[in-house]
């Protein structure tokens, strides 16, 4: 049986020998079996060397058979754009055409130049960065840092945009079960049969958890793994259950909100185009059952990182599930019982087991006898103190643990087990507090913070029978708590066999203890040794958080799943303090690294952020508009004609509006319908201006402040009826003004009878401005007398335009006679096109926001957010006239009285005339009184708006200048990098100062 690898054992495992899969690793082609992980398939092909470590570039193999893997990280590439770094070979399933490459090595995996760091490693001890590379000063930036950066970093980031698709889903359930081993399946079954809505997830491709390797476990008289599959099938067909495989619960957030990531296509050779690569599930569960199992720890001894050295249970997974023997001559080093099972399984499958090295003096267990009965040499009270070989383990050095002569035993694989660490990650993420259990030397769930419960190995429960009983009870109980009508599940499960999780050791083994200068790795990926942790303690790092940060222990991509407890124990020993005093472990999301794309899911490309367009957008686009982003809106910026740049287009538009007319899309302005008997009173409180006496059919410009007295928004308010107003806001201000008004209405002035409704998008708004505006619109207007006498500046009326209901405002943001026509939005384009068609032959142009800005600046009208910046009061902006003098209250009245608001030295809005008559000041340029002063200069103001005014034939600008109102006629200076520009302070009206054109 060699087609799927030389280490494949005939008759072993659950995969189908006929289902072969071709894949490549570092360019070489291999055959594996469907259902293999990359790690399993590589071991089957006798490949143990798969990566290089982070700092020392030491050769590394496959340590585990799951997501805790710190060493076997590879890059996986589907095509040029689909390259993913740092994929764990122990998780990635193979498929035809899978292309994997090793990482962090150059030029090749077997010969890596970076490995010189290993020889120089005494220099690169924990925290070495902090003590050196400081001299000479410039060298850090130019020499040391680039070198360190290039040496670090594992895999290579993709360089092209990711063409894959990701999906997201919110889901709700009564009971979420995290983990689908014997515990999780039992809990899910009990909850489901009780009638609860259940979601069950497991990170592996199939359910079973430890039953993947525990061959002797039997449930309901069946092989454990087979039971798991049947139970999964039973659950999957129930209407109240959702079963999610390849799905990792990565984050446990407030109020039982749990993030899951489902890997949908990475295991497929040719996924369908519409399938998402991954799907994010955001689950709100009434109860959560955590059945996350436990993770086996490695033994800490010299050179414990040689390829071929792995966790005992991983070897069982490879053998019992994949049918792969990890070696032919396999040593075992253990501190508990569970590694014996690995030795026994391998022995039975034909591998030689030269010795089981058990650090315990008198292991009293049937498995010991069973091993001996199979003829395996068991060395109790012994330790492995070193491993030989470089690219693959070749031997183990065995000594009596209390000293004595060493024996070197040749091996081609070495299995180890220091015991099992309960996976309290999700419990800890839920903000539960773990507690140290002195007796079993492990952290277990202590105080719960949310409605969840831990069952099975992650709860420190030993034995299959106990686990299943606990899980059934938890499942039933959760169902009852979540759902009043839950019934008795009636589920009973018979168990036989199954391993134990208790026992073992933590910390460094013999030969790697204090004073030993050996590389006994605690954190494989980050190359943290037992010695490094002791050094950290020696340097005063007495909190485990300091030790962790100083050594980087536990900060690699496996987030310390193997290393945390060992590191803590070594630090505690060095400090001579009990473990809980050195620090409790807390875990943060994510449990395993989680793809950005999955987290983002649909919110990419077009769905990154809504793009809001007005009803007339398509017509504007057809007319050649260039658009600008204003918040989420796309607004027509200017309409260049062939050969025109922005400048030329804007100049033409500005001229045309003043000479003939122009049409502008003002739809994006916010609109609020204010209705009720107290509507005027309410507006009177919300605006600085008085509103009580505004006549029906009249418009008024209003300024809104917050309590601090700074300008918050502005707009025009029209009175449609005694009890009905049409309020406009700035484009960006629409939502916050609405919120601000609702806040006051609901909480401060609840007695006022007023209702607010946003009508921002009900109306399309078409501004027609210029001397011919009336002539252009008149043929289409019904029911409104447009004459200046009947309909003067700042009036409004309801009627029809182009046959549809309209609110027509006689108003102007340009200084020209003009109209703003509001029509129901779905008619907007029709009205726009009609007016355009009619106005064009008369000389009317379309104009965009840039021209609007120039024209309003020619008139000195402010733009909130450009000429104000959140620190400008109505008085500063020269709008004192808009603050009701007789009003006794309005929002902002008190803020405007504060000492520094009324003091001298306020920056006030003025006009600037550039002395040379040509230079357009840069917006944002700073103003000084004395241009000759040294840096740092005293700045007395800044240019808020500045344009070339084609209508004035010169540049115009507005600026906020300290005591600007008192500086009329003064000369000030704008220092630019290459020269100083002289300006004269003026008022802000540059065009038609008398305002006659408004009334034309």
């Amino acid at each position: 049986m060699t087609t799927a690898g030389t280490n494949r054992i005939a008759g072993k495992g659950r995969l189908t020998p006929a289902n072969t899969v071709r894949f490549t690793f570092d360019g070489k082609s291999y055959t594996g079996l469907e259902g293999d992980t990359l790690a399993a398939a590589l071991i089957a092909n006798d490949v143990h060397l798969v990566g290089r470590s982070f700092k020392y570039h030491r050769p590394r193999g496959i340590l585990s058979a799951g997501p805790e893997e710190p060493s076997a990280l590879v890059g996986v590439r589907r095509d040029a754009a689909r390259q993913t770094p740092n994929i764990r070979a122990t998780v990635q399933e193979i498929h035809d055409g899978l292309d994997a490459v090793s990482q962090n090595r150059w030029p090749s995996l077997a010969f890596d130049i970076g490995a010189v760091n290993d020889i120089g490693s005494p220099l690169f001890s924990a925290g070495f960065y902090y003590k050196t590379f400081m001299w000479p000063k410039v060298a850090w930036k130019h020499v040391y840092e680039p070198v360190i950066r290039n040496a670090a970093g594992l895999g290579t980031a993709p360089e092209e945009p990711d063409p894959d698709h990701y999906a997201g889903r919110y889901a709700h359930c009564d009971v979420l079960v995290i983990g689908g081993g014997a515990a999780g399946l039992s809990a899910a079954l009990a909850a489901a049969e009780s009638g609860a809505q259940v979601i069950l997830c497991d990170e592996k491709p199939s359910f079973g958890g430890a039953l993947w390797f525990e061959e002797e476990a039997r449930l309901d008289g069946m092989d454990g793994y087979e039971w798991a599959q049947q139970t999964t099938d039973r659950l999957a067909v129930m209407d109240n259950v959702r079963v999610l495989s390849r799905t990792t619960a990565f984050g446990y957030y407030a109020q039982n909100f749990v993030g899951l990531v489902e890997r949908v296509t990475d295991h497929l050779a040719a996924p369908e185009a519409d399938m998402p690569r991954e799907r994010l599930w955001q689950v709100r569960a009434k109860r959560v059952i955590i059945a996350a199992g436990a993770i086996e720890r490695h033994m800490v001894f010299a050179n414990n990182d040689r390829p071929g050295i792995m966790l005992a249970a991983a070897a069982r997974t490879y053998l019992n599930h994949h049918g792969v023997a990890v070696g032919r001559k396999v040593g075992v080093y253990t501190a508990n019982d569970s590694a014996y099972a690995a030795a026994i399984d391998l022995k039975k499958a034909g591998s030689d087991i030269p010795a089981i090295v058990d650090i315990r003096d008198n292991p009293d267990s049937v498995v010991v006898e069973e091993a001996k009965a199979l003829g395996i040499r068991v060395l109790t009270g012994h330790a492995v103190t070193g491993a030989g070989g470089k690219l693959r383990v070749a031997s183990m050095s065995v000594e009596p643990k209390n000293g004595g002569s060493a024996e070197v035993i040749p091996v081609d694989a070495l299995l180890m087990s220091a015991g099992w660490t309960p996976s309290v990650h999700m419990f800890s993420q839920s903000r539960g507090k773990v507690a140290w259990d002195e007796e079993s030397q492990r952290f277990l769930p202590g105080t719960y913070a949310q409605d969840c419960v831990s069952v099975g190995a992650c709860n420190g429960t030993d034995g299959l029978a106990e686990t299943v009983a606990e899980a059934l009870d938890a499942g039933e109980r959760a169902a009852k708590e979540a759902r009043a009508k839950a019934k008795k599940s009636g589920v009973k499960i018979k168990t036989e066999g199954g391993g134990k999780w208790a026992g073992g050791m933590i910390g460094a083994g013999p030969g790697a203890g204090a004073g030993k200068v050996v590389k006994a790795f605690v954190d494989y990926q980050n190359d943290v040794t037992a010695k490094d942790i002791r050094l950290a303690v020696q340097e005063g790092m007495h909190s485990i958080e300091h030790v962790k940060r100083f050594t980087t222990n536990g900060m690699a991509t496996d987030q310390g799943k193997l290393s945390n407890l060992h590191g803590l124990a070594i630090a505690a020993e060095a400090l001579d303090r009990p473990i809980p005093k050195v620090g409790l472990t807390t875990f943060r999301p994510p449990y395993t690294p989680t793809t950005f794309g999955a987290i983002v899911n649909h919110a990419r490309g077009k769905l990154f952020d809504p793009m809001r367009c007005t009803p007339m957008h398509a017509s504007e686009e057809a007319a050649g508009a260039v658009f600008e982003d204003v918040g989420q809106w796309k607004r027509a910026w200017y309409y260049p004609r062939p050969g025109e740049d922005m400048h030329a287009a804007v100049n033409r538009e500005c001229r045309t509006v003043r000479e003939v007319a122009g049409m502008f899309d003002a739809t994006t302005l916010g609109k609020i319908e204010v209705i009720g008997p107290d509507a005027a009173k309410f507006l009177d409180l919300l605006y600085t201006n008085p509103f009580m006496k505004l006549g029906v059919g009249k418009l008024r410009y209003g300024i809104m402040c917050r309590e601090d007295g700074f300008i918050y928004d502005d707009g025009v308010v029209g009175r449609i009826a005694e009890d009905r107003f049409h309020v406009t806001t700035t484009t960006g201000g629409a939502p916050r003004v609405m919120n601000h008004m609702e806040d006051y209405l609901q909480t401060e002035f609840p007695d006022l009878k007023v209702w607010l409704t946003s009508t921002s998008e009900q109306w399309a708004v078409i501004a027609v401005q210029g001397p011919k505006s009336r002539e252009i619109i008149a043929p289409f207007v019904e029911g409104i007398d447009l004459s200046s006498e009947a309909f003067p500046h700042m009036s409004m009326a309801e009627g029809k335009v182009c046959g549809v209901p309209a609110r027509v405002f006689r108003m102007s943001f340009t200084g020209e006679a003009g109209f703003e026509i509001n029509v129901p939005a779905d008619y907007g384009r029709m009205v726009w096109d009609t007016l355009h068609e009619h106005g064009k032959p008369m000389g009317m142009c379309l104009y965009g926001t840039e021209t609007m800005h120039v024209l309003r600046a020619e008139k000195g009208y402010i733009i909130v957010g450009q000429d104000t910046d959140g620190t400008v009061t109505p008085h500063d902006a020269g709008l004192s006239w808009a603050v009701g003098k007789k009003k006794t209250d309005f929002v902002g009245i008190r803020g405007l009285m504060r000492p520094d608001i009324v003091a001298k030295g306020r920056r006030q809005l003025v006009g600037l005339k550039v002395k040379d008559g040509r230079t357009v000041l840069e917006e944002g340029a700073q103003i000084v009184a004395d241009p000759k002063q040294a840096v740092p200069m005293t700045m007395i103001g800044w240019v808020s708006s500045s344009y070339w005014s084609e209508n004035c034939g010169r540049p115009i600008a507005m600026a906020l200048v300290e005591d600007g109102f008192e500086r009329m006629g003064d000369t000030l200076y704008v220092p630019m990098p290459d020269r100083v520009i002289e300006v004269e302070v003026t008022n802000t009206v540059f065009f038609d100062e008398e305002g006659g054109r408004l009334h034309g």
């Binding site: 997201g168 889901a171 649909h602 077009k606 998008e761 019904e782």
Partner: protein
Amino acid sequence: MADVQIARALPLAGMVHGGAEVTVSAAPAAYRISLRAGGPAVAALSKALGVTLPKKPGTSASAGSRHALWLGPDEWFVFDETADPAADCAKSKAAHSAVDISHRNTAILVSGPAAADVINAGCPRELSLEAFPVGACSRTVMGKIEIVLYRTGAEDFRVECWRSFSDYAFAFLADAARGL
């Protein structure tokens, strides 16, 4: 007046995204109002509208083509594809605010066995029939926008959103309908 062809252009006119599991399509034009009123006016307005304005949070009432959705303690969303509810409200003397939002909103219909799943791609609300039965309605969010969600059948939803967000809403639902 100059001769103009009156044409109402719905933002998503005619758009359909279909599949076996779900169909996403633009709803026909409708009259819509945002109705606000205090307790005492509710009975009178119900009478004027010909539909009893629901008082229970999250519920709706229908009469013929007219549907009234509870959105807040003094707020209803009323829509009707054939007759203008604003005109009926205007007949009532009771103190209220009825604002025409026929054009502010547009609607998308989502139907099929996967309809709830597709909406749940971006809407964090529980949409089981138990939690959100036929007739349930609510203002809520979907992806990055606000919507009004109204369940019209076990597998049928009406998603109302503001006009300028409809392009996003439709694209979102279509994206969510991929590879279910």
